[in-house]
Amino acid sequence: MTYIVFLFLVGLVLGLIAVASNPSPYFAALGLVVVAGMGCGVLVGHGGSFLSLVLFLIYLGGMLVVFAYSAALAAEPYPETWGSRPVAFYMMVYLLGVVLVGWALWGGWYEGSWVSSDEMFEFSVVRGDVGGVAVMYSSGGGLLVIGAWVLLLTLFVVLELTRGLSRGALRAV
């Protein structure tokens, strides 16, 4: 299990490098999907099955929307992939940077730091993260209200920002 979690961690970093090295948005969105998948793996490896489910179903669903947006708005005739020269250069630079920093910090990693702490789950009815999320319905109700309210606020924000077809000077779309 430790090795699989380690592979997921490496994949997380590689996915972010793929996003950050400035490819075209299609490919950056693809990199983000990879990052989300790897993050799910890391969370499952640490015993957070519910949070990883949330990440997989909800976040990847949201990412698909972003992907559709990118395909609609940023369509380019010659998109930059990870193979094209500047993007590949930045990827190499970032990879080198991460490896160097990790190498410098290697001495501080001790043996036990690889073990994911997921203790006593045999004794409990629900996993810890399910219980923790369920707290939002009891004593964390205020936070739930704030979250719901900010989602409502965002609805108004998005509607107000995207309206205004009849107003303003230049209209390209």
Binding site: V13, L51, G102, D118, T154, V173
Partner: protein, 98 residues
């Protein structure tokens, strides 16, 4: 510093670097922002899992809700910029400098 800590720190800083230095498209910047938020989600969940503070597991969910709001507002701004400027290249956002 554990390997997990190193991983999410490096992913966040990579996202921040991408947002700061590479900005051909507005959408790329928003995707970098999303990557930062994603690494924060992983960081918060792993904190509550590793330190066995299960009550804190609600925090990553709230973070996800807020980052969804942020992504929504960012995409709305993408639409608005594409309407007013005709493109989503960040280089064309140069009306205000003088």
């Amino acid at each position: 510093m554990t390997p997990v800590h190193f991983t999410f720190s490096s992913t966040f800083i990579l996202g921040l670097t991408g947002l700061a230095f590479h900005r051909t498209h507005l959408l790329s910047a928003l995707l970098c922002l999303e990557g930062m938020m994603l690494s924060l989600f992983v960081a918060l969940s792993l904190w509550s899992l590793q330190f066995n503070v299960t009550n804190f597991s609600a925090a990553p969910m709230l973070l996800l809700a807020f980052s969804a709001c942020e992504a929504g507002a960012g995409l709305a701004l993408l639409v608005a910029t594409a309407r007013t400027h005709g493109t989503d290249h960040l280089q064309s956002l140069s009306l205000l400098q003088c």
